[in-house]
Structure formats: C-alpha cells, structure tokens
C-alpha cells in the first residue's frame, strides 16, 4: 500500500483519504493527515510505528526546548546550542544504529523511510535553532510534518517552513497551504505525470537491467554493457523523478505547495551542477546542515576539499551501507573537487567538458551505485572497457536483440531529457492537447500498475 504507483494506494487508500480529508473542516485537516499518515505507515511497516511515534514525541519536546532557549535571546544561545546538539546526536545515533543493524544483522532493522524522516527531524531542530521557523510549532503540526504520508517513504525532504503549518504564509503574505481547484488539478497532473514516468519508463527499463544481471556481467557484450549503464541511468532518473512528482502531486492535492526535487539534471553543464538539480531537497539538506556548518567554500582550499569530501562520503553512506556506495560518493566528491578547483576556468571556456562529465561520467557512476558487489562491479567495468580482452560466454548479438525491444523506451527517455519538452507540457497543462494524451498515458500506466502487482500468480513469467 505504501507504493504510490500501486493500485492499492491509488485506487483504495488515497481516494478514501481524500474524501475524508475534504469533508473535514479546514481547522481539523491536520488531525486527519496525521491519523491517515500513521495508518499508512502502519500498513507498510507495522513493527516500527512505535519507533516513529517515539521519535516524533522526542523531537517535538527537544524542539520546544530549543525554541524556548533560542528565542530567549543571546544569553541562552549556548544552552540552545546544547539542546540542538543533543537532539541531533540522538537522531543521528538512531539512524546509524538502525543502518548498522540492517547491514550486519538483517535489512528488516531499517524502518521504512527512516533515512528521510530523521533528516527532516534534524532540519527541524536546526531550523528552530536558527530561528527559521516563525512561531512556536504545535505538537500536531510537528507530528504531521514528520509523518505526512506523501513524503515519509522517499521524501522529498521538505522543510518545516515550506509546509504552511499553522497557517504560515510565504514571503508575500499568501498562505502556503491552499485548498483550490487549481492547485488540486495541478496535483492530479503532477501525480499522473509521475505515475507515467515510473510505470511506463522506469519499470519497463528495469527489465533490461534485470536481464543483464540474469545473463551475468561476465557474459554481456560491450555494447550491451553500455546500453545497460544508460538504461539503468534512465531507469533511476525516471523512477525517482516520477516518484517525486507523484509525492508532490499528492501533497498539492492536499493543499501543500509544490516541492521541487528535480530540475533537468541531465541538461546541466557540470557534475556539481548536476547534483544541485538531482534530488534537490537532499542536496540542499547536505548544503545547509553539513557543508555550510563545516565552513563551506569560504575557508582555505584544503578546508573546502575537506567539507566537500565529507559531504559526499556522507551522501554515499546515506544511500546505503555497502562499500560501493562509499565508493560512489567518494568518486563523485573527487569529480566535484576536480571540477571546482582545477577545471573551473577551463570548463568556462569549453562547456563541452562539463557536458561530457554529465553525459558520460554520471552513467558510469550509476553503475557503481547499482552493483553492490565489488567483484561484480569490476567485471562490469571490464565489459565496459574491454582492454583486457573478453572471456566468458558472450552472445555478440545481444545488444541488437535488446535494442530491438527497448528502443522506444530509450527514445522516450532521451526526448524527456530536454527541459523544453516537459516544460512545454507543464505550461500547456490545461489544454486538451496535453491533458487528454496524459489521461490516455495514465490509463496505459494503470494497465501495468494492475497487471504487475495484483495477481501474484501471474506476476512472474519465466
């Protein structure tokens, strides 16, 4: 039920929730949101509801202390800092503990979405300390913010101040939370677009990556290895972008503002820019709560390198505990340091270098991200770069065979990389030329939604 692109969520939980939500008077909608979120979480992770509730309570109490001391003025600043440090330490400790248990004992020890809600809890404490949250947050608003189901499983990592809790308004005085037909419709559009990306592109492309694993990396041809690297890159992109659009869409249908998580990363001119446009809320979180506190780029070169590498190694660890994620984060850190400190002026003169970084290096880093076993990764790279010859049982025609069935997915993926395409669709979203094809695509996506999950006996076909 916790998968937005599943029929149980899209056609059972969410419609019922929406009806109840909108039948409830505005003042009590956060109550419904909180209860619905706990129900949602319990459906996906019944064992760890208590952990979530405990963390919510702890962080609310800690937040009250930070708020009281930070608001009282400078004399208490130190005590506020102590409260902040203790709150953050507890959160970090819980996250590391669960991740370590998941890695060493069983993956069942990492509660659903914990990486995301703990990060939200840390940002909450830090924002209170920095005075970025106007007014003392109430328990219900806080609990809603931590647990809200549109964001609990995979983000985006919204800030408390962005959620319009307690009637908060934006800088121009308009309330952030709006219940209007226009916003609701935008939510539906965002959800439909996201569902299409996830079900029609990402999940279909995922078949290719599975096929490659099935064959075994030692027996794929070099063209197929490259096809796999790009196929996996597209799969990851449309999976996560689609998911983020669905999450944002669900939020908008509930009155929340749109939270942007992707902004055409593959159109970027460098790897550092790429990661300002990819999973933006995570990047911004690391920037605001790790990179800047460490000194950012204001210090000496060595300090900047240290901050960047820390951020990127932590980013790697956050994605997973195995060595390949550390390697992934480390390599990205090195590329970004290299771009920032060495190539900087050259890249300004020759933009092509940055483009090549994004379009060539990024897919290769995704291979490191995808293949958890280091030896298997080595084999895969030997296939990508067959300088040492090719052993194994390779079918030289494999790439052609798969291209024959996957080319439409690759073509659609490439077309959607151009920012103009999706931006045009968003700009003209009220026009029948957009919403009617979108509705048709959505039903096509529903076809896969239904047939890939509802009937366990028909799901696998070998």
């Amino acid at each position: 039920m916790v998968i937005f692109s599943g029929a149980e969520f899209a056609f059972r939980f969410f419609p019922v929730f929406l009806v109840v939500y909108y039948l409830t008077p505005r003042a009590y909608r956060d109550v419904i949101l909180f209860l619905g979120s706990i129900f949602f979480y319990a459906a996906g992770e019944p064992r760890f509801v208590a952990v979530l509730l405990g963390l919510i309570l702890f962080n609310w109490i800690a937040g009250q202390r930070i708020y009281a001391r930070a608001a009282a003025g400078s004399p208490d600043r130190r005590r506020a800092r102590r409260a902040l440090v203790s709150a953050v330490s507890v959160n970090v400790f819980v996250l590391i503990l669960c991740k370590a248990l998941a890695l060493t004992v069983s993956s069942a020890f990492l509660p659903l979405g914990m990486s995301f809600y703990i990060f939200r809890m840390i940002s909450y404490a830090a924002d209170l300390y920095r005075g970025k949250i106007a007014g003392r947050p109430g328990f219900l608003e806080t609990a809603c913010y931590f647990s809200m189901f549109p964001q609990i499983t995979q983000g985006p990592i919204m800030r408390y101040g962005e959620g319009g809790f307690g009637g908060a308004a934006d800088s121009e005085g308009r309330p952030l939370r709006q219940y209007s037909a226009a916003r609701f419709e935008d939510g539906v559009i965002s959800f439909a677009m996201g569902a299409c990306m996830k079900l029609l592109l990402a999940d279909r492309l995922g078949i290719l990556w599975n096929e490659i694993a099935k064959i075994g990396y030692d027996s794929i041809s070099t063209p197929l290895a490259w096809m796999g690297a790009y196929g996996y890159s597209f799969q990851l992109y449309y999976d996560f972008w689609g998911y983020s659009l669905m999450a944002a869409g669900i939020g908008m249908m509930l009155g929340f503002p749109y939270i942007r998580n992707f902004h055409h990363p593959y159109a970027c001119g460098s790897v550092s820019q790429f990661y300002r446009c990819w999973h933006m809320t995570l990047g911004a979180w690391f920037r605001d709560y790790v990179y800047f506190p460490l000194g950012g780029s204001r210090g000496s070169r060595a300090e900047t390198v240290f901050s960047l590498m820390t951020v990127w190694l932590l980013t790697g660890l956050w994605h997973g505990g195995t060595l390949n994620f550390l390697l992934w984060g480390g390599i990205l850190g090195v590329i970004i340091v290299w771009e920032k400190l060495v190539l900087h002026s050259l890249m300004k003169k020759i933009p092509l270098i940055g483009r090549i970084h994004v379009l060539l290096l990024i897919p290769l880093t995704w291979v490191i991200f995808a293949v958890t076993d280091l030896h298997a990764m080595e084999v895969y790279f030997m296939r990508l770069f067959p300088f040492f010859g090719v052993e194994g049982n390779v079918n030289p025609g494999d790439a052609v065979k798969y291209l024959r069935s996957f080319w439409p997915l690759f073509a659609a993926s490439i077309v959607l990389l151009f920012p103009a395409v999706s931006e045009l669709a968003v700009r003209r979203r009220r026009s029948p030329a957009v919403f009617i094809p979108l509705a048709a695509l959505f039903w096509w996506a529903v076809y896969y939604m239904i047939n890939s999950s509802s009937n366990p006996f028909l799901y696998f076909s070998f």
């Binding site: 439909a192 099935k214 049982n393 009617i436 076809y447 509802s454 366990p456």
Partner: protein
C-alpha cells in the same frame, strides 16, 4: 441549483481530474458488470483492488470489455460456456466420488513401480476408454491425485481435497485462446490420443520420486507408438560403469554420451530457460528451438513462439504448425516452472500428459525427453511461496512418471547441477531461476552426456559410428539415415 453549477464550474477548472474521474467510474462499472461473467474473479479482493483492475487483468488475457455486450447478445454462447464449466466441475466431482469409493490402493501401487500403476496393459487394447472426454480424464486424475494425497503420511488431505474444482476453473481461465485450426487438429489427433489413453491414470507419488537420471526406473506407458527400436539387442552385456535406465520389462536403455550432431534432428521446446539455452548454450547452429518466455503446458498449443532452426532460419509459429510441418527424431520438452503459479500438481500433470500424447501423435517416431524442471537457488526457494524447490520436486516426480523408458525418457539435470541440499548453487544464477549465460554450457554438456541412441544406429561394438562422424549437413547427419546397422545387429 447554484451549488450544482458551482460544482460544474469547479470540474471545468479541473479537466484532467474530471477526465480521470469519468474514466475511472466507467472502468469500474465495466469491471463490476463483468465480474464473474467475463472476468475470472476467483482471486479478486474488492478491499484491496479496485473493480477496474478486473478490466485491466482481462485486457492482459486478451478479454476486451466489449465482449460483455457480445456475450449478453449471444445468450446461448454464454450459457454454453457456463454449462461447460459446470459440466467439467461435475465431471471432476463425479470422478472424485468414484475414486474415493474404489479401494485406495493407488499409493501402494505407485510405490512399487514393477506393478505399473499405469499401465503396461494398454497394448492389449485400450478400446473401452476411447470415448472418454478430456474433462472426465482430468477429473479422474485429479481425484486420484487427491486420493493419494489423502493417503500420504504428510496429511493435508482436507486442504488438498478442495482443490480440483478451483484448478479446473483456474486452468479454464488461463488457457484462453484455442484457435479453430488448433481444435480441428486436436480432434484429428484425438482418435490416436484416445487409443493411447490409459484407464487408470495416476502418477507416482513423492515417495517414489526418482533421484536423478540413472535411478529413474519408471513404469512403462504406451502412447500408441512405442516400439522396440530403441532397445539394445538382447543379450548385450554392458561394462559396470555404463549407466542407463531399466524399463519395467527388464530391458536396459543406455544413457550415453553423444556428439553435437545428435541434436541436428532434435527440437527443444521450452520456456525462458530453454530460450537461454538457445542463446547461450552454443547450440543455435546445431538444433531447432521452440522457446518463449512463460511458455507453459497450459499455453503450449495456443502460443506462437520463435522457431530457431539450425540453418539460421527464424519464424513465428505455433507448436502445432511446427510439428505438423516438420519431422524430428528427438524432442526435448522443458516446461514446468511457470506452471507452479497454478495450484495443484494433478492438473499440471494431466496437461503435461496431454501435451506428450499430442506430440507423440504428431511425431510418432521421435524419442521424447521429459526434462526435469531445474531447481531454483536456496535464497529463492526459501523466500518464494510459489517458485520453490519443494514444489518443483513434487512436479518433477509427477512428470517423471510419464516416462516409459522405451521411447519417452525422463532426464533431470538437477542431479548434476544442484548441491547436496538440492538447491541450485547461488553462483549459477542471478535471479535464482535462470542460469547465468556462462552456465548454459553445463546444461548442454548434460544433454550430450545423457542421451539415448536407437539400436539401429549401433554397430557390433555398441557404438553409433555414423553419429561420431562429421555431419555432412546440419539437418541430415549420416547417423540418421536409415542404415543397415540394424541388420548387423
């Protein structure tokens, strides 16, 4: 009135939402209307699934919503279908009762293969049974399977006893399209099949499960075309290390190594695993493949699949077209993993048996190899309630009993592939089900090491000289010309 117009104004401001609402409601209405009538709803749970999911599942099965209107129009057709379903159900029930009444000795019989639970006797006439409809036969075999389950020490008899009807319904739901041409051919073959069908169909229970290839001592069954041509000559003595199969009649069949050319007049029928063998088994220039993802005994005759021939030609055909048009001397059948998704071994067994009978009818002088279903890895087996090795072992025991050790042989690569627990080693497979490309060569080697050579091709020394020579042409190796070797023997 103002409120209503407000609602309309609101809906006009939300064009996508309105479109989706209207289509959702229509699809749900279609699903609800077709539930139980057009769509198989045996696994439908309205609490977890929307009604419209029935429509989409139907689309996948090739059932379109507008057929509902057609069915309503043609009441007779719909009625006929219902009647058919209930008839087969009734047949199943009836057979179950009779089977229960009969002395429950099947399990005992099956345990002692020499007695031949089925059948040995068909050569002396199977006339009386020729009128039996396939439904009746299906019911009978399911009922007997039940009977055996009830007798088995493991128990679970009550749970299993419910299944036959559900199975019939489910199989009916899955085997969708049978073309008229297909039906005609089946009718034509029907006479031969009926002649071959034995009276007390049953399969050997798990207790008598064969261990690997060489202990597969099977009851002989006669599919109407069994001949003594694959026998080694009487009085032949074999060195101790030679391995083979003893048929119930005391004859000894050698499983031996053969060269690649052995496969030149063979056909491999199978699912995605056989597809992998075609792709990575280094056999594409040796033999012919009829393989398709998800091929199962339920759809064996209705699905078109890629036919890859040794000479490089490719075509899309049904199995019936292929077996009618071309002549093969060996047919390897390797299906069964997908079928695990459909409950109950009895129904699977029956379908498998029907498939063998039809293949035999179409290719009277081919050696049929029933390939045991390859096991899955330990991780897969432990985590998967459906595709696990317990289920595969049970199914393999069932299909192994279809071999007759005369012209139908059961070969099982699991004895070579699997570890001491019967699990496919983890390094053999990435997804737990399919071999990695590099391991398909092992399967090929297994096939080359476990083949049966016809007596007519053996010379005095027990070798088949022609087979080991370079084959002059891919399709017509010297080994398969009608030689005089037989006279020499």
């Amino acid at each position: 009135m103002r409120r209503i117009s407000d609602v309309f104004r609101g809906l006009r401001a939300m064009p996508l939402f309105t479109t989706l609402m209207i289509t959702t409601l229509s699809a749900s209405a279609l699903g609800a209307a077709g539930r139980g009538r057009l769509y198989d709803d045996s696994m439908f749970d309205p609490l977890r699934q929307p009604y419209l999911s029935l429509v989409f599942q139907g689309l996948r099965e090739g059932v379109f919503p507008w057929e509902l209107a057609e069915r309503r129009g043609e009441a007779a057709k719909a009625g006929g279908e219902d009647a058919q379903a209930s008839a087969s159900e009734a047949a199943g029930k009836g057979a179950e009762e009779t089977a229960v009444e009969s002395p429950a000795g099947n399990a005992g019989e099956a345990a002692s293969p020499a007695d031949g639970a089925w059948d040995n006797s068909s050569s002396d006439g199977s006339g009386p049974e020729s009128g039996a409809s396939s439904e009746e036969a299906a019911g009978a075999s399911e009922a007997e399977a039940d009977n055996m389950n009830a007798d088995s020490p493991e128990g679970e008899g009550t749970a299993q006893a419910e299944e036959p009807q559900a199975v019939t319904a489910k199989i009916g739901g899955i085997s969708v399209v049978i073309t008229p041409a297909m039906q005609r051919a089946e009718e034509e073959a029907g006479t031969m099949i009926a002649a071959a069908r034995t009276e007390n169909a049953s399969y050997v229970s798990a207790a008598a499960e064969p261990e690997g290839v060489n202990s597969a001592v099977m009851d002989a069954a006669d599919y109407g075309a069994a001949s003594a041509r694959y026998l080694d000559p009487p009085g032949t003595e074999y060195p101790g290390e030679t391995e083979g199969i003893f048929a119930p009649d005391g004859n000894y069949y050698r499983l031996q190594s053969v060269p690649e050319s052995y496969f030149s007049d063979a056909l491999f029928i199978g699912d995605s695993r056989t597809d992998g063998l075609a792709e990575y088994g280094d056999m594409e220039k040796l033999t012919t493949f009829f393989a398709k993802d998800a091929l199962s005994v339920y759809r064996l005759w209705s699905q078109r699949a890629a036919v890859r021939s040794a000479d490089g030609t490719r075509s899309e055909e049904t199995l019936l077209e292929l077996l009618t048009a071309r002549h093969f001397h060996k047919i390897y059948l390797s299906v069964g993993i997908n079928e695990l998704g459909v409950p109950a071994t009895a129904g699977f067994y029956q379908k498998y048996r029907e498939a063998l009978e039809l293949i035999r009818a179409l290719q009277p002088d081919a050696i049929l190899y029933i390939q045991g279903i390859m096991h899955v890895t330990r991780a897969r087996s432990a985590s998967d309630p459906v595709y696990n090795n317990t289920a595969i072992t049970e199914r393999n025991a069932a299909i192994a009993s279809l071999a007759n050790g005369r012209d139908i042989f059961y070969i099982d690569m699991n004895s070579v592939f699997c570890d001491e627990n019967g699990d496919l080693p983890a390094e053999y497979s990435a997804d737990g089900v399919h071999l990695k490309a590099s391991r398909y060569l092992l399967w090929r080697q297994f096939l080359m090491d476990n083949a049966v050579i016809r007596a007519e091709e053996l010379d005095d020394t027990g070798e088949a000289p022609g087979l080991w020579e370079e084959a002059p042409a891919a399709c017509e190796p010297a080994g398969w010309k009608q030689s005089d070797a037989r006279d020499g023997i």
